[in-house]
Subunit: 294 residues, 6 copies
């Protein structure tokens, strides 16, 4: 066996043509999912999200009133080292370094670590982080594995890739060891639970995000399980009580003017999806990010 | 509980017996879906909605406290010209003209045009329109096809079937060409986005509907994709961020006293449904319409 | 994260070991579903809920900050008389009598009756009842069957197992014969419709529950169809317009200090579930109950 | 092709009109499934089989070259006593007694017993039996229940409804207690395992069926789990290694001239079906039976 | 709306690069399905077949021992006139005329007609035809529509596109009007039913195909419903009793040396597929065709 | 029928109690799947196979006429090093070494390597191998990974764990690089393609297996994709044209008297299964193995 694994063949997000990504915003898929701790299958995320994105091609963004497909490129899928976590993370960092402004389609959340490493190098300092998720992802290990999908931000904080005082997590609600939670808070991270979003409302949470992150360069990391499993069944570690898609859209649309340097959309596992619900949610939320940047 | 259990109820919608529809309210199916632009399959909508409606047979409407199955008839499915859009629209108009008060189960949204043509003739003037949808459906064409499911209200406005100043669209959120949107607004149509419903609330939107439509004869056209795909996955052109079923119910229940002359429930595509979720939503929303009329 | 990954956790609910249930809180499954009136299949509920609960094993409850898996036992499934409703109800009552504090995984809602009979005997007086459901379940019969899943609380009231003035139903929204509804209200039962929850909000409804039930011993009966079918498709008699999982969680978390003597989680029918959505919702809501009791 | 397309055909099985069944062949559904021992849901079998049968309406039988929809009537569904096995069996026998030649759509296999009781009374003597199944269905009890779906032929033999020497079972392959198997053989029943069909071939088995049953009045009881689960996933107690649909068709087509007095098609559980595979198989095999009788 | 409909975006069969198809073998998708008479959805066939074909990329054909991905091109999807059957057929013919050797992925079977028209013009005489299908597809009309998916070969014979004496149909088994069947036979067409394949065996049928078609230029038209629905559930008009995939492969592998001028693979409707079963079958059978031609 | 109904059977595989496996036959699950090259998810195989096995508990094996549940133990799931292939293989070997006679439920096929390493050590010499699979699994690497699921027997041969002249592969049919195929044959391995099984028949192939493997200690490795995807959709790398379940059963039942020292059942990926088809096939084939050993 040689070349790309069978599940990694190209096609363009929003119909975008290929490109090197040296300028402008580029999409890339990262079909990597062996750092998951429960249901796998996010390796098929890039293909599913690209396919679902085709439904958004015809027309302008409804509130921005602009065609978001113009000028976008899709660099295809990153090479990974099949079956080898550390080697894959190294490969991802190396490839990410080539891009001017990268939006990735995962893949599991472990990919955020090498993506942030590459950005940190390019920008010369730690980033702010807007992190949508059901889980804090600051576990020091993942059932003995250092770089599992629940540990990416433990390392990102420890490696100085993100500034925890400019880091906000939205949608958090899973069981979590109390010492992990306390460590995260002690670093200065702001945690907004899903119940907070439901009860405090969109305006208050959006203001808190803007205030926490500020105007310095930031990164958007969106784990699709921030959404409730009713809206995103196709994921590996679902938790009930999550966000509706309208809430995620409403929050993102209020983040205009923030200085985002990149985004990832992770943990879409199509084998558990139905009627492309999850893939369409992921594609549309990336589309909302593009609306912020165009 | 009495009679046959719900899984063994015979007859049409809500167990209704057949009839000519010359008097009273009659249900009819229109298994027509070749004017769709994405996922087809709404031809199976009438069958699925009728079946799901059986779950509603046992008991009275919970707030109206009346049995809605009394006096209702189900005329079966309309004949269509399989594979021929213009001939089918003509057939639909012709058959619809026979009914005193028709509630149709689609089928794709293109059927609204001949239904409105028939009503316009009967009533002698343009109708008000309460239009639930994710899409404006005022495209001047449909990938080159004049009568696609996204163009029905472009024609309805141009043909004077509806009065655009008495027309309100609720749930709108899809990408749309800016010139299509601007044309629609310039005709006087009121557009309430799904985000508006989420953020402004039920009372405000219900009041706006009542005010826009007024007391003259109106029509209710309900595209099931007004609902969020979490609540209605079984449809052809889903868009995230849509209405919850409770919101649609809450709005409909506040429309009592409006002068509705007919209704359609369209775009239920059962092949993409799960556990009859979408068909049950469609059946129940028709049931709420009947509660307004009984 | 430590121990076995969630997909390889052994044991019962939340990985609990077996036990007699003579002390502490014990889980038991009741795979009984022949008293259903529409879609059957809740006999597979206990297995599905236990399996989904494994996803909750790794970590403490996020707001309670305590490990709920400690000290819990799982007594396995109750014996039933396959195909015989009265004999099964007798067997269930007999087995339930052995437990100090029983949390059952149904099965259909008819099991609540013998569970309440056993509790009534143990406690010597009628219980308060917090009842989540789409249906009032106070029909005097079930298509001719005295002990169907829609009649359990008719009997519970008539037999003096619950005190109807300390009984509150949340999420009600199905069609219902007006005389059944009126009988229920005339007994003193408080009914909170799903629309009430949506429009009046969590705080108001939680206060009403606390006030209605008071501090005397109570029981929690949770029919999963209280949730909207988007959040819980895997059930037998779904009704649109129901609760979101976050609402159910938010309500339960406000019931701390009530004097619950037991709980059932019923009507999970896995054959209609998708991606374990419904089973996970059921497992997590039982988990929230445990958080109230630990 | 003429008339309504298959997806819009009205009426009962094969589009048949209603009727009393006093003359000719009549279809009836029996939505009864509480005597199942594993997956329930066959109560939805009649509805699913009727719907799938619509695909067979357009054209003549391909080898018989005759239109099988002529003269057929569909009497709708039998009333049952929901939740009560003995009362339901009594009701079924009573209703079946009204029919000249009845073909029933189950429902679980327990319905065969009252159907045979009714036929035995009408004909005045025991019947021959062609029985397709994965299971012998001669268990003396069903987990303590006397009339479960695995015991129908134990009673049929003991009550003298069928002549075991004129009884042949085809497709048998499930685990079975050796004493149950030996009792069955000792009564004179002929058992043809699924492996026998695969290895001995159609001609040999068809000849054995004809020889065993002879020319006296007989009954055809077809449990859909005689088919392999690849061909009929939608059933309650699947067993691998079963018949392909072509084998069942090939066998049935060789039974012309036998004197069949009735048929049942049982154990179709649509909740486990996919793409209507199982329902279509059931409908087509009933269609093949009609081809033998028309 | 303009440009290609959303469901028609490119990607390469077996990973093939794009190309004009002026030389060599080229793949093209034809996402056209409005001439179907039952379940629609074959418009998504090209996308699904291409995706499933990726599983076949790694390695040589197991018996031919050659890499079939070399030199193949994929021209993407044909333009169609959405919603207009005659205009679409004209467009398909026009585009097909540009190719040296075209293998198309449908789409419904109506596309075979314009494809044969284009080939007939190129070759100057009628073609032989190897036609796998459950249906004869020689109906003179399709519920009133002249060019439905069940009429393509009626026209192909009448227009002299194929030589009916060099035409063989394999897998036939649906109900069919006797006059349609007789007309087909009277034209000289050879019909091999699915039961014939099961009972006469591969060698005999393969020999009959070779003998009927001979060495002059021929065409292979493969309707996926020639396969049994257990092997190909994802199609619009399934019929039980069909071919296993191994039988189709075994037959195709014995057709080496025939002079095929083109192929179509039609009627894959992914909405009814499961685990990509049908799409993989379609992709692999196209792969077997390529093995005959390389 | 006695005891708990099949849907409420407690315990492990076939309801077996736990045990150390020091004597007798023991079942163990190995929830490891990160060495897959296409669809992942076999980590859920052990759970699914155990659950499906409950359907086989009630009764004796139909031809062996013995109760196979007696004396069997289930040791639960092996610990693995989540996310680390080499460390997991080492852990598996270490745990396997503790068992007298181990039957494992995978997991992907890479687990066969450490299982054979442990057996080789115990037995002191290379084993014979009966290997059911669609793929030869003798690739020297797996997209760069040395121990992927397609390379297990390359290493097993090179490490002298199996004797390639006593090794037979049944069901082979995937594309494969010609040099990989030639290397395999050159080692002396016997390859029986799926087409061979279909065309040469059960008796001939069973004889060839017996003759190839002989009477010395052997191992049975069963990749569920040896079965056709119609019979086993729930797997990662399906290939059409495979074995029917009856063929696999018929072959296994003819292997009595062979000296099997262990078995694995691998590559069941429940996320792609339907109605437990694949899990039931896997469970039943393990059951057939137990019938050979009891």
């Amino acid at each position: 066996m040689s070349g790309q694994p069978t599940f990694a063949v190209a096609g363009g997000f929003l119909g975008a043509a290929g490109g090197t990504g040296k300028t402008g915003i580029a999409i890339a898929g990262i079909p990597f999912d062996i750092a998951t701790t429960n249901r796998p299958g996010a390796r098929f995320g890039p293909e599913a999200i690209r396919r679902a994105s085709k439904m958004l091609v015809d027309g302008d963004h409804p509130t921005l009133r602009r065609d978001l497909t113009k000028g976008l490129t899709d660099a295809g899928d990153f090479a990974i080292a099949l079956g080898d976590v550390p080697a894959s993370l190294a490969l991802i960092e190396q490839q990410a370094a080539q891009f001017a402004h990268l939006v990735t389609l995962g893949g599991d959340h472990s990919i955020a670590l090498p993506l942030l490493r590459a950005l940190r190098k390019r920008l010369g300092g730690p980033l702010g982080l807007v992190h949508f998720d059901a889980h804090v992802d600051t576990w020091p290990d993942s059932f003995g594995q250092p770089y599992g999908h629940g540990s990416c931000f433990y390392h990102a904080i420890n490696e100085g890739l993100v500034d925890p005082r400019r880091m906000i997590q939205i949608g958090i609600r899973s069981p979590v060891q109390t010492d992990v939670l306390d460590w995260t808070l002690s670093q200065g991270v702001t945690i907004v639970s899903a119940q907070d979003v439901h009860e405090r409302g969109i305006e208050a949470v959006a203001a808190q995000i803007r205030q926490t992150v500020g105007e310095a360069p930031s990164y958007l990391s969106f784990d699709i399980d921030a959404l409730d499993p009713a809206f995103a069944p196709g994921t590996g570690t679902p938790e009930i009580g999550g966000l509706a898609t309208w809430q995620a859209q409403a929050l993102l649309r209020r983040l205009g003017g923030l200085n985002f340097a990149g985004m990832d959309m992770v943990e879409v596992a199509p084998a558990y999806d139905h009627a492309e619900l999850t893939a369409l949610a992921a594609a549309t939320l990336v589309y909302e990010y593009l609306a912020l940047r165009t």
